[in-house]
Every structure is written in structure tokens, then in C-alpha cells.
Symmetry: none
Subunit: 209 residues, 4 copies
């Protein structure tokens, strides 16, 4: 009767995480209700506590799951060899993940944007694979003279990823008014590479302030 297989347990866990992701993405950690999550997953409250020791822990697990999925996806990406093309491809890969796992990603992005040192570590750690890809693309760009060499590529990579999150956030915050998700990759790449200055208005390299 009882004797639940490991697969079945994982299935329950998956359902709970899925429901949790959705609720957390809508309501945030504090406002989301454990009861609502468990019921949405098709279980009673007690069951949730058999799988996760606390609401906080469940939240952490959702974040982990989200970053795990994102990282997996990014590893599959293949692209041609221009920096612009590469960054565009990376941004599009991100958007793709985004679309398929929007709930998880919302939680992830929001947590990343909460700027709490604890989360920061967690998020950057799991976002690592992706950030490293960006970094690598940028480094190759520097070698090719396509990317300015006066700033450390790790920092540029963080900026790029931050811009992505910023645009997603802007999208959600404005309830889709601007930008549309489709525009995001190009918007981010353009902003990141070209800036807002008009053609020729850029100061000579090395100029201070």
C-alpha cells in the first residue's frame, strides 16, 4: 500500500516546487501562503512539510531549481563567432528559458534583484555557468578588438546579465507595456554594446571624466 517509489517521491516534490514557483513569483516570499501552495499542488499542508522543513527552505529549493534549470539550458547553446552575434544568442537562449519556466525565472530574477548578500551568493553561484559563457564571449571580443579592453570582463559580464534582468523586470513591472519580451535580447545587446550616445559623440579612449 504505502511503499512509495523514489520516482513517486520525486514527482510529488516536482509538483510542490512547480506550485511554489508560481505562487512565489506572484506573491513573493512573504505574501505567498504555504496552504495555497500545497493545495495548488494537489496536496495538504502537512505533505509539503514532509518534503520541505519550512517555507524558507521551500523558497530556497525553488531558487535552486530555477538556477539549475537555467544553467542546464545555457550549456546547450551554440553560436557563430561574432561578439554581437554571441551575446544576442546568449540573450535569446535566456529568453527561451525565461518563456518556458517563467514562474521559476521570475522568482530567480526578483531574488537576484533583491540585492541581499545571502541571495546574491546563491544566485550568482547557480547563474555561474551562464555568466561564464558571457564572460568568455566578451573575452574573445576583447581579443578581436570588438570589446573595449579597459574594463575587466567579469564585471562587463555582470553588467550584461544585470541588464537582462533589468529588462525582464521592466517588462513585468510595466505589466508588459515596455519592453515586450521579444525586444529584450536586441535591446539589451544594443544598450550594452553601443550605449545611448550618438554616433561620434564618444570621448577619446582613456579620457577621464
Amino acid at each position: 500500500m504505502a511503499r512509495i517509489t523514489a520516482t513517486q517521491k520525486l514527482e510529488v516534490r516536482r509538483k510542490l516546487l512547480e506550485a511554489a514557483a508560481q505562487h512565489f513569483s506572484e506573491a513573493g516570499l512573504d505574501r505567498a501562503s504555504v496552504d495555497a501552495i500545497s493545495v495548488a499542488a494537489g496536496f495538504a499542508k502537512g505533505t509539503l512539510y514532509n518534503y520541505f522543513p519550512s517555507k524558507q527552505a521551500l523558497f530556497g529549493a525553488v531558487i535552486e531549481e530555477a538556477s539549475r534549470r537555467a544553467a542546464e539550458r545555457y550549456r546547450e547553446v551554440e553560436v557563430e563567432e561574432t561578439t554581437r552575434a554571441h551575446l544576442l544568442a546568449l540573450a535569446r537562449a535566456d529568453l527561451e528559458v525565461m518563456r518556458e519556466e517563467e514562474d521559476f525565472m521570475k522568482v530567480l530574477v526578483r531574488e537576484a534583484m533583491s540585492f541581499r548578500p545571502e541571495s546574491y551568493a546563491l544566485v550568482t553561484q547557480h547563474l555561474g555557468p551562464y555568466v561564464l559563457e558571457v564572460e568568455a564571449a566578451l573575452a574573445r571580443g576583447v581579443e578581436r578588438g570588438e570589446i573595449r579592453g579597459d574594463r575587466p570582463t567579469p564585471q562587463l559580464a555582470l553588467l550584461f546579465v544585470g541588464l537582462l534582468g533589468l529588462m525582464y523586470g521592466q517588462h513585468w513591472g510595466s505589466a508588459g507595456a515596455w519592453p515586450a519580451l521579444d525586444e529584450v535580447p536586441e535591446l539589451v545587446v544594443t544598450s550594452f554594446l553601443d550605449g545611448a550616445g550618438a554616433e561620434g559623440s564618444r570621448p577619446a579612449k582613456g579620457t577621464k571624466r
Copy 2:
């Protein structure tokens, strides 16, 4: 205790806002307790409710105060008439406020970066004065041909402000590792205006993808 002067009332209000800013910046809107705030300000719970009708309203007032202070501060600054100089001045003014009122600014930035449609309205409404200044500076830049005219200035202004928040957040999230607060204005202005592309790597105008 009747017949309190207007000055005294403002003083009480100031203390309450100050305490609220600190608590909200640490705990966020949901976790902060009205009781803790009033006590920290040196008053009883009821007093807070004599000044603000609800926790939400208090939160709104904190945000409004923060953005008012920021806007005021930067209006005092005098700058030469270049877009770059102007944006730099705006960013520095913001940083200056930031330093003196870190609690207020943390609340503001975190809320802005929470990307909840509800907050979005609240924040943009209260952030208005500052964003409008940025927008005006950009509009003048477009006229002078210093800013690319192919994107609406309101969107560019949001991007600029977003970058600023992003950098503050990066600073807090990395526990000060990078960037240092001092670098933020230039970092933001450079990223915003020039982008990360190397000199001459920018595609001709109108080029797609």
C-alpha cells in the same frame, strides 16, 4: 500634549520617517513591523497612526521623501551644458543622497527593483521628479545630437535610472566588492552612453541585428 508647533510636528514626522526608512531598508515592506518602527522612533504605536494612516501609506511617504530629497539635491548642482556632464552630475547627486540617506535609498531601489506592477506605479510616481530631470537632460542631448534619437527618451531615462539602481544593488549584493560607490556614477554614465563595444565597432545606423 496639545498645542504643538508646526515645527515640532514636522520633527516628529521626520523621526518617524527616518526610523521607517531604516526598518524598511532592512526588512522590506512586509517584514517591517509598525510597532518596531514607532518604538525605534521613540514613540508609541498610536502616534505613528496619527501621522500616517497605514503601513502602506508610511511606506509610500518614505519613498516619496527619498525621491524628493534626491530630486532636490540634484537641482542644486550646476553643470556645464553637455549631456555627459549633466548625467554625471545627476548620478553624483544621486550618489550623494545615497550616502547621506542610505536607508531611504535602499528602500527606494529595492522597491523599484521588485518589479511588481503595484510597486511599479508607486515607485514611478514617486520617483517622477528625478526621472523627469534625467529625461529632460536626455531630450536636450538629442537636440544637440549627443544622444541617439532612435529611442524614446522616457525609455532611455528608465534605462539610465535602472542602471544606477543596478549598480547600487550590485554594490550591496557583493557586500561592497564591486563596484565601490565612488565608481558608480562614472560607471553608469559610461555604460549608458558609450556601451561596451570598442571604438569603431558600432554598426552603422539602421543596421539590423
Copy 3:
């Protein structure tokens, strides 16, 4: 400057009682707010407390005032000499008071209908003059053979007054749907004297059960 005359003090007291009557009649003792009452009277909260030591005391004073006014009015009534005519006149006198001092009367009736021994004493004491008039009219009716002599007139009088209150209450409770205030006197007198039984259905006197 200060030096307020006794008349002025009474005037303030009157205003406070008036406002209190209105608020208590709408909201009841618990729901009425001291602040609302004082402001409605044109004063600040503190002033009210200079005249009445507590909300309870104010409520008591309103009840006293209401009964005092009612008693005064009832003493002026004059009527012709039939029981039915007398009762009708008494009921109409009551209605008249009712109309001119509806707020006070509402409080009074509701308090009377709360059936708390404390209020009961207070109310019946002040309602005394009126009830005594009713009682006297009934006693004369018994002598004339118009009123059944098998029940003590004081009890019949209480029943009559109770019926009046019941009908007022029904009027307020149904938001005026039924009965209209104008109908009340006749309704009460008919119910009281004739009952609901059809002509001739009354059992022989002295019949038990």
C-alpha cells in the same frame, strides 16, 4: 477673556449632549466615537472630557436628558374622557415627543429594550410620569368597565408602553417599511385594546387555558 458664564457652560453641555444623542442613536454606545461626537458638537475631544468624565457617563447623561425631556412633555398632555381616546392621545403625545427629539428617543428606546436591570431602573424611573398617566387612564377605564379588570393596571400600563417601543423599534429596524410613524398610535391602541382575535372569538371570561 476666559471667565465663561454659567449660561455659556450650559450651552456647551447642551451642544455636546445633542451631538452625543445623535451619534449614540445611530451607532450605539460601543460603536459611537468620542472624537466624532466632540467634533460634531464643534469642540475638541478634550473639551468633552471637561464636561463628562467618560464615554459611559456621557451616555448616561444622554439617557437622563432624554427621559427628562419626555417626562416634561407628557405632563402637558390633556385629553377627553374615554379610555380609547385617552390612550390614543397619550400615544400621540409620545409620538410628538418622538418626532421632535428622535435622536434622544432612539437612544432611550434602545436602552429600554436592552433589558439590562441597570438601565431598566434608570429608564422606568424617568419614564415614570408617562407610565403613571397611562396607568391612571387604564384605572379609570376599569372603573368604567372599558378595560378588563382581571389584570393589574400597572402591568397593563407597562405592556402598553412596551408595545409603543416595540412599534418604534419595528419602524426603525425595517428602515421605515412598516409601520409608518403616523400609524403607530392607532396600531398600538388597537392591538392593545382589541387584540388580533376575530369578533366573538374571545373565550368567556375566567376561562383557563
Copy 4:
């Protein structure tokens, strides 16, 4: 504590209602405290809220329970087919409930006699079953010519029930002095059917004023 049987749940509900009835009957809706009620019932605050969504709802449930019990009780009674006998039976059934569930009944009567439009709706709605029985008895009485047909039976029914409440209230208010509870049914039925007028003193039908 899961897997509680339906019987056990009903038992908890019963205890809560019982405690609530007692507290409401002593303190009224406003003054009664949810906390006190739950503790008196032997449970924690939260448990009460598992059974009733709000204080108001609990109050409504108490009233409903009271009127349900009254209606049930009197339906068991068998009576000969006279209006007088029927009304007497109804009044006695009510009194019987009254005695065994005085707390519930006090709440009911006091609320009914508060004459607030809000309560009015609540009470008449919940008092429905009982009032409808009275109404039906009266309607049959009209058909048999035992009840005067010149007044709508719903109004007569309200009057009857009002008289009943009035007498209970008189009993409580006078601290038992008059009437004794035992006398109430006959007192009410006699007052209601026969009135206080002496035999033959009733004016001819249709007579005005």
C-alpha cells in the same frame, strides 16, 4: 490532529457556539471578545477561525442555531386545531427552548430588540423558520374566522413574536419581578388575541379611530 470524525467536528462547533452564546448574551456583539469565547470553549483563537470566518459570522451562527432550535422544538409539539391552542403551543415551545438555552435566546431577543437595520435583516432572516410557523398558524386562523382578517398576517406574526420578546425582556429587565417566565405564554397569547378591552367594549368593525 488530523482525521477527526465529522462527529468530533460537530462537537467542537457545538462547544464554540455554546461559549459564544454565553458571551454574546452577556456582553453583546461588540463587547464580546473572540479570544474570550474561544478560550471559554476550551480552544485557541485560531480554532474558532477554522470554524467561523469572522466574529460577525459567529454571531450569525449563534442566532441561526437559536432560531433553529426553537423552530425544531415547537414542530415536535402536537396541538388541537385552534388558533389559540396553536399560538399557545408555539409560545410554550419557545419558552421551553428559552429555559434550556437561555444564553442563546438572550442573544436572539436582544439583537432583535436592538432595531438596527443591519441586525434587523440578520435577525429576521434567521428567525425566519419560527416566524413563518406563527404566520402559518395565523393564516389558518384567518381562514377559520378566528383571527381578524383586516391586517396582513406577516405583520401580525411580527407583532406576536415582538410581544414574546417584550415579555422576556420585561422579565430580565425587572430581574424576574414580573412577569414570571411561566406566565409568559398565556400572557402573550391573551394580550395578542384578546387585548385589554373589556368584553363588548370593542368598537364595531370598520369604525375609525
